[in-house]
């Protein structure tokens, strides 16, 4: 809340800076704006930037560093007996001090020492907050003063302002790269810690997955085994079922829409596909668990088949429905991109429409469609909510779609929802799975995008 007030104060100060700068610039040429190098507004912006930018940068740095520094100071102020605690016990103690200072429930008896530490902590936080406010506001005011001093008729205000804007544009455009780097490093870092506990060969080729590690060394039956093959198999099974639904339906729908449909029919059906694409995955998951899975189970019982109520079939079919619009819109684009002259040539030779499509249009569009299908596969592999809600939890190495299987994403969610300790193989395994997921989808995406792009260039 204080931060919000502080930021709005900074914004108001910048606004004041804008008007001060503007009027000073106009005054410096005694009202003849044409003698200024830039439009008066640029002088205002110049001062406003001087006011806002340094203060905001300092504020950001402060916010990200303050907790760390305060913690260091707090640890330094603790008695020697507490400082020598192992790091996890120390973290618990610090947590208790923080909770006590914040008026929350504390997990241990409150002794005077703890109370002192909490007071000290609260004090430091308060001093920190006030110092932050004072420093930021002082910087803002100093910025205005400094900017004002620089204003002169021949100050190249526009160029300077534009340089700052340009810097902002460049920095923004690197966010995409930073995100990728962040993903790669966060996954890699935790995965390496995991591979120190479990060898990669066991993870990649082991046939047994039961991530429950023992709490005590002498506990029976939960040594934890991290062979991810059943998860990969389950993911592939469900994705395969999804593709069996999505590819034919999506492709035929796209062909009909692109080649046959009356514009009015197109206008009526397109929204249906768009709505299917816009339905959140959690809704599909609920639909799968509430309607589709029981339906398959009951009809299986009717036919004398034993279908699990968390069968791969139900999750796969619903996931396929989710992916239909994805396949159809990509294929639609690609089919309409096939040049009309090819169709006309084929029709001129006497082929019917379907023959034209089968022998001319589809072969021409095939690379693009393959690319689209690859993108769809990567969507299916990474899809989470449907499988979390409709597929099973137990790792089951089977190719039978009527049984329950589990997937990589389901395991990531189950391993990470709830309390986590970042030194157990169980939690770290989720990051290793995430790394595999990221690598596989990345490869699929790169190949698919290449294929689609090549195809587009062919006819452009």
């Amino acid at each position: 809340m204080q931060i919000l007030v502080l930021v709005s104060t900074l914004l108001v100060l910048s606004l004041i800076g804008y008007y001060l700068g503007r009027s000073r610039a106009v005054a410096s040429v005694s009202g003849e704006a044409s003698r200024l190098h830039s439009l008066p507004g640029y002088y205002g912006l110049y001062v406003a930037l001087w006011c806002g930018v340094p203060a905001l940068i300092v504020l950001l740095a402060w916010l990200s560093l303050e907790p760390w520094i305060v913690e260091r100071l707090l640890v330094a102020s603790l008695p020697e007996s507490a400082r020598s605690l192992p790091s996890d016990r120390l973290a618990l103690l610090l947590n208790d001090i923080r909770n006590l200072a914040g008026g929350n429930i504390v997990s241990r008896d409150v002794d005077p020492e703890l109370r002192d530490a909490a007071n000290h902590y609260a004090n430091m936080r308060q001093i920190g907050t006030w110092a932050e406010i004072v420093v930021c506001l002082a910087l803002a005011v100093a910025g205005i003063a400094l900017g004002q001093r620089y204003i002169a008729p021949d100050l190249r205000a526009r160029n300077k302002v534009e340089k700052v804007v340009m810097a902002f544009l460049v920095i923004s455009s690197t966010i995409a790269i930073l995100t990728t780097i962040g993903i790669v490093f966060s996954l890699l870092f935790e995965a390496i810690r995991f591979f120190r506990l479990v060898p990669p060969s066991e993870f990649l080729f082991g046939l047994e997955w039961s991530p429950q590690t023992a709490l005590r060394a002498d506990q029976v039956g939960s040594s934890g085994s991290f062979g991810a093959v059943p998860l990969f198999a389950g993911t592939m099974l469900i994705s395969f079922i999804a593709m069996c639904v999505a590819v034919p339906v999506g492709l035929f729908a796209a062909i009909y829409m692109a080649e046959y449909a009356h514009p009015r029919f197109r206008a009526a059906v397109k929204p249906v596909l768009e709505i299917l694409a816009g339905v959140p995955t959690v809704v599909y998951g609920f639909f799968a668990a509430l309607t589709v899975a029981p339906f398959f189970r009951d009809s299986g019982g009717f036919l004398g088949l034993d279908i699990s109520s968390e069968s791969a079939l139900a999750a796969g079919v619903v996931m396929g429905i989710m992916i239909i619009p994805f396949v159809s819109s990509l294929s639609d684009d690609i089919i309409t991109a096939v040049p009309q002259s090819l169709r006309e040539g084929s029709s001129g030779l006497g082929a019917t429409r379907s023959e034209t499509i089968k022998t001319v249009v589809l072969p021409a569009a095939l690379p693009g469609i393959v690319g689209g299908v690859l993108l769809a596969v990567s969507r299916a592999i990474g899809e989470t909510m449907i499988v979390v809600m409709a597929a099973g939890l137990s790792a089951n190495l089977t190719a039978n779609p009527l049984e329950a299987v589990t997937t990589v994403t389901v395991q990531i969610v189950t391993l990470l929802v709830g309390d986590q300790e970042f030194d157990s193989a169980k939690t770290l395994a989720a990051f290793a799975l995430g790394l595999v997921l990221f690598c596989v989808t990345l490869c699929l995406n790169i190949v698919a995008l290449r294929v689609v792009q090549k195809y587009r260039e062919q006819y452009e």
Binding site: S173, I175, I321
Partner: protein, 440 residues
């Protein structure tokens, strides 16, 4: 036609009649294939429509009944000696008084013949625990009613509610049913005295989550969604527009910009759960931001929607014809002025459309938020972006896991609310596109 067929006869030596038959049979076959092919296409579209209708019908069919709630009209005597023995109307005393006993007493007054402990407990179970809070709120709002006999509508328990809505059938043998025969008999007597009403379920829209289905609402999740979306919008929109401007208007064509482009395209296709892992490892563990907070959720979703908005914004900026830029440059504008005073305003409708679609995507996203702990059970309405909160799709996920029958209809109802938000957002995006679309 017959002439060509005739020459054909001569050349191939086949009888004249035959070739006609062969050709027309071939044409028949080919036309049948044509019709089949069309039918496949129509069947595919039919399947998609069927899937969508089944989905919507299921959701609405199970969800519509959650918008009403069975209420019991209770006459409660607010004895001053129970609520406020000292008579000074101290709010602290008022809020700690035993209202539960009053509610139970009033139920017992309705059925004086109920005496055994077990039966009494069952009788008390007819109304929700929320009744107590409701009476307390009524007293705190207006202490002058103490000493009077008030008539108040209190929610009935979820099982009774489900029975009244017909979701629990009386045909089922008693042992398999959540409502006993005796409770049904009580309920019938209450109905005869016209004390049972079905009213609009305001609780559903005004309260936070609860373990009791009849007290659970989506307001907390809605506020959480709103806070999260504000953070997402505040971060994603400026960054995405800036990136799009840079890439379209200023970026030199070199390896660096190629790399940026490849990255953006790939990020658009990275599974959302990976963004959740990023949020967990970087925002929570590295920067130590609070768990379950809309701030972190918004940041993760912003990273996720950035590519969508960037791609839409780039397409929209690209669509502005070059002669606009040339004309402005010719009049002496700087490149930055061209962008901010001409290109950007013209591209804005397209950018906004893309932004709304990206936000709609973010609003429905669940998986990454599970990773950063927005799945906690939170009763309070969040007050700021650092308070623990949950969002609408996660609320759907949480409720879908609950065993009570009453939560099924609430899940569906929450989905209906979520879907209507998405439809409104998408409709607005389409309107923007239609209204401001320009063809140059």
């Amino acid at each position: 036609m017959s002439d060509t067929a005739g020459t054909g006869t001569v050349k191939t030596g086949l009888p004249r009649k035959n070739i006609n038959e062969v050709v027309s049979a071939g044409i028949r076959r080919r036309y049948a294939a044509e019709r089949r092919f069309r039918a496949y296409g129509l069947a595919a579209i039919g399947f998609a429509i069927f899937a969508l209708t089944t989905l919507l019908v299921t959701i609405v069919g199970t969800g519509y009944s959650a918008f009403t709630q069975t209420m019991l009209e209770l006459e409660i005597t607010l004895y001053p000696q129970d609520i406020d023995p000292e008579g000074n109307r101290d709010p602290k005393v008022l809020s700690t008084a035993n209202y539960q006993a009053l509610v139970r007493q009033s139920l017992r007054d309705l059925f004086p013949e109920v005496t055994t402990r077990q039966e009494r407990r069952r009788l008390n179970g007819l109304v929700s625990d929320g009744a107590t809070f409701q009476v307390r709120r009524a007293v705190l709002d207006d202490p002058s009613i103490i000493g009077q006999r008030i008539s108040i509508l209190v929610p009935m328990s979820d099982d009774i509610d489900q029975f009244m809505k017909g979701h629990i059938s009386a045909e089922v043998p008693e042992s398999d049913r959540r409502v006993s025969d005796q409770e049904i008999a009580w309920l019938e007597r209450l109905q005869d005295r016209n004390l049972v009403h079905r009213t609009f379920n305001w609780t559903f829209f005004t309260s936070g989550d609860s373990r009791e289905p009849e007290l659970a609402g989506i307001w907390g999740a809605l506020v959480g969604s709103l806070l999260t979306m504000s953070v997402t919008l505040a971060l994603a929109f400026p960054l995405a527009v800036a990136t799009a401007i840079y890439l379209e208007e200023f970026a030199p064509k070199n390896r660096w910009t190629d790399l940026i482009e490849v990255n953006i395209n790939n990020l658009a296709a990275v599974p959302s759960i990976v963004f959740g892992l990023l949020g967990l490892a970087v925002f929570l563990n590295f920067f130590g931001l609070p768990r379950s907070a809309p701030l972190v959720g918004g940041m993760v979703l912003a990273l996720m929607t950035l590519p969508t908005i960037i791609i839409a914004a780039r397409a929209s900026i690209k669509a502005v014809p070059p002669w606009i830029r040339e004309a402005a440059l010719g009049l002496g504008a700087s490149r930055m002025q061209v962008v901010f005073q001409h290109t950007l305003p013209l591209a804005m409708p397209g950018i906004l459309t893309g932004t709304i679609i990206g936000m709609a995507q973010a609003l429905g996203e669940t998986a990454p938020l599970l990773m950063i702990g927005m799945i906690a059970f939170i009763v309070d309405i969040p007050q700021g972006v650092t308070d623990p909160a949950t969002v609408l799709p996660v609320q759907v996920f949480l409720w879908s896991d609950a065993p009570e029958r009453a939560f099924v209809e609430r899940t569906s109802a929450a989905i209906m609310v979520l879907l209507s938000f998405l439809i409104v957002m998408n409709a607005f995006a389409i309107y923007l596109r239609k209204r401001f679309e320009r063809r140059w």
